[in-house]
Symmetry: C2
Subunit: 435 residues, 2 copies
């Protein structure tokens, strides 16, 4: 049969999935340590909900999978998880704030497929709703370092504040209706260079003197975080800019309280992110060694979205971030999976090869599993083929069970890497493998 | 805003999802212990793959969600996970057998919504491909008891063999084209009673003498498993029936080697399951106390499906089972969640309430988290409101951090259930909570 493969979707075989599950395990473990609780929302959704203008607008709608069910309902597959969080909050008035949740789930985008851009992929989102204090924003930064330390990747975080950016726009006198496009152009400094940004700004009708002034302000910021903030405090004296600067000061002071590595949280005044719903702090997490160019995680504050979506009079300040499972996987791949996946993570850790001792071998398997050791019994392969299988599958230990060994009350254990065999009682094997 | 809720889909809030995640965690842990590796397949699939006649036929197609993407491709959402396993095996000739994988993922059914029947739900599948020996079938039974013991539910397993059923059909001389419907009717004994089954058999054109003979054979089986098998060995002497009986004998002997509780694995000659692709052993797992009527897990051997699907000349014998996440959740709900979710599973385990000590409290939170204790800091609520919040959220411990305590190098810890407060150094708190 000729099996068609759907472009933009992927199946993950065990060799990859073991690593992805370990990454997800670390994420969940840390999310919980920081007080975030799990939530799971449905993938199928009314198209009308996904089409809400506050959910992300035109850009998102263009790439939303649409379908009609047998009852004639217009449905869509969720594009991201934030709209689902907003919906859950709207539907559950008994939720107590602050509400801290994580959700790890599939999202779908009916768009063009590029390298690293799939049509079906997993997002790992973590958000808190109901806290205005910058202590919440700083908590995400502390968690970020905690997570990547555990994963074994060195990262740095670039940070900015949307209110400060608005303050700069006001100071440079960019017209209201051109502020978003100006900020978006500025965000491309790393990608298209200064000349590219200037070209874009000219095309959108920003005057030469405004462009000069804008770069003067942005490029004038130098030195330590404190020095950059002090520099802006001298220049940006409008209300919104001052608010942004105060938020940045609070944010960095709480980061210190969390003992976040100071040199690795970098205030970058040109950083903007996708502007749709960010309102305050914004950050992007990059590998320090630059082996992967795109960010491995990113987040920010989005104080207005839920209120707008629910058309509520209540405020729902919110901060959150997304961890990119696939990009973290790629980053680890470029390093060293062996360091990440130890012998104990291998499945199975032990392969039992019965030599005409199947029944007894099943009982031995039970004892190993009861001791928490992942164990398999190979029932239809002879010794040589079974050893080859263990070798190719990367199984760390093989236990050979023959009649002679059973009579002596021992088993033969083979360390596949060291290629060494020893006879010993099963109890001793268990003790060693549990380590 | 009036938020529409899509019937047949569900969002799981933290109070439910913490329990579901714990169940899934136990499943994954045990799957690994038994040597099953994780796999993840795409939800979006070409409709033509899902429509393969070997994937389950008409019944499945009727309820498969269909959609067309922007490239005009005819797609569907996966209906179950087995067809995806077959596809992965077809696409990856480097896979070594036996291949043991588990997959936990969403499946979708565009059918009528009933109690306990959703349009979007999670399946927990675990299968082995490439083993003919009944040792594989017995391993699933051992794993089943191991899993439900850990979850804290008492279960029994009903077992039968499809080949034996075919042998009985042959013995009773049911015409070939009426065997499947006869077996399906027989399977309803528990649901519609003997009279109901007889009525169905009559309607499908089975003669009175055949019906009599059928019940005579089935009802004649009594006593212990060994006695039932011996009984059938006397009567069913055709090839297929003898093969089934030998498989049952092997199966029960391997179950013994795994020290499975003998009285809780019950040979039930009328059990049939959905017949589409089962070829040998079949089993269903029920709560012993009967508080939930439907099975909480079920499985069987399906030796032909992959070969047929791939139109391959190779054999792909396979055994597997599904655990019902939602029904296990319901079963636990009827008992006692408190016994299942301990203090250490609570998120957060500790809530820190700063009394004008936010910065210092963040540093204390860091220390607790570093010690592996899930911790939250409530930053915008005064003491009384914060204690109410902790109480309502069921947070086990509160740490109150005031200036006076900091000066004395202690914190105030409150056991919310016991309503007791004690002052002690943070190090001691950590020691107690890690306990």
């Amino acid at each position: 049969m000729d099996i068609p493969v759907l472009k933009g979707t992927r199946d993950y075989l065990p060799n990859e999935q073991i690593i992805r599950e370990k990454i997800v395990g670390i994420l969940i473990d840390k999310f919980k340590k920081y007080g975030f609780k799990p939530m799971e929302t449905a993938i199928l959704e009314y198209y009308s909900v996904l089409a809400s203008k506050y959910a992300g607008g035109e850009e998102i709608l263009k790439e939303t999978y649409k379908l009609t069910d047998q009852g004639g309902r217009q449905l869509g597959l969720r594009y991201e998880l934030t709209i689902k969080l907003a919906k859950v909050i709207g539907l559950n008035p008994m939720i107590r704030f602050p509400f801290k949740r994580y959700e790890i789930g599939k999202v779908f985008r009916d768009g063009p497929v590029k390298t690293g851009r799939l049509r079906e992929f997993t997002q790992c989102d973590v958000d808190v709703v109901g806290v205005k204090s910058m202590a919440a924003d700083a908590e995400f930064i502390a968690m970020t370092f905690d997570i990547f330390k555990e994963i074994g990747l060195d990262v740095k975080v670039l940070v900015n504040n949307r209110k400060l950016l608005n303050g700069i726009m006001e100071y440079v006198e960019i017209p209201e209706d051109k502020r978003i496009s100006t900020i978006l152009s500025l965000d491309k400094l790393d990608k298209i260079g200064k000349d590219g940004v200037i070209e874009e700004l000219r095309e959108s009708g920003i005057s030469e003197s405004q462009i000069d002034k804008l770069f003067q302000v942005i490029e004038g910021a130098a030195g330590s975080t404190q020095e950059k903030i002090a520099y802006f405090e001298n220049i940006i004296t409008n209300e919104i800019g001052k608010e942004g600067l105060q938020e940045l000061k609070d944010f960095f002071s709480y980061c210190s309280a969390y003992e976040v590595p100071e040199d690795d949280v970098i205030f970058q005044p040109s950083l903007a992110r996708g502007l749709a719903y960010y309102t305050g702090t914004m950050w992007e997490v990059y590998l320090k060694d630059g082996t992967i160019k795109s960010s491995v995680a990113a987040g920010g504050r989005w104080d207005e979205m839920i209120k707008n979506f629910l058309q509520s009079k209540l405020d729902y300040p919110a901060v959150g971030m997304t961890f990119g499972l696939d990009v973290i996987y790629e980053a680890l791949k470029q390093k060293d999976f062996e360091g990440f996946i130890g012998k104990k993570d291998k499945i199975p850790m032990v392969l039992i090869i019965p030599i005409n001792t199947l029944t007894e071998s099943l009982t031995i398997a039970k004892k190993l599993r009861d001791a928490g050791i992942s164990t398999d019994v190979i029932v239809e392969k002879k010794l040589k083929r079974a050893l080859e299988f263990a070798d190719k599958e990367g199984i760390p230990y093989v236990i050979i069970v023959g009649k002679a060994e059973l009579e002596k009350n021992v088993v033969k254990i083979r360390d596949m890497q060291a290629q060494q065999e020893t006879e010993m009682p099963l109890e001793k094997v268990i003790k060693i493998l549990k380590g």
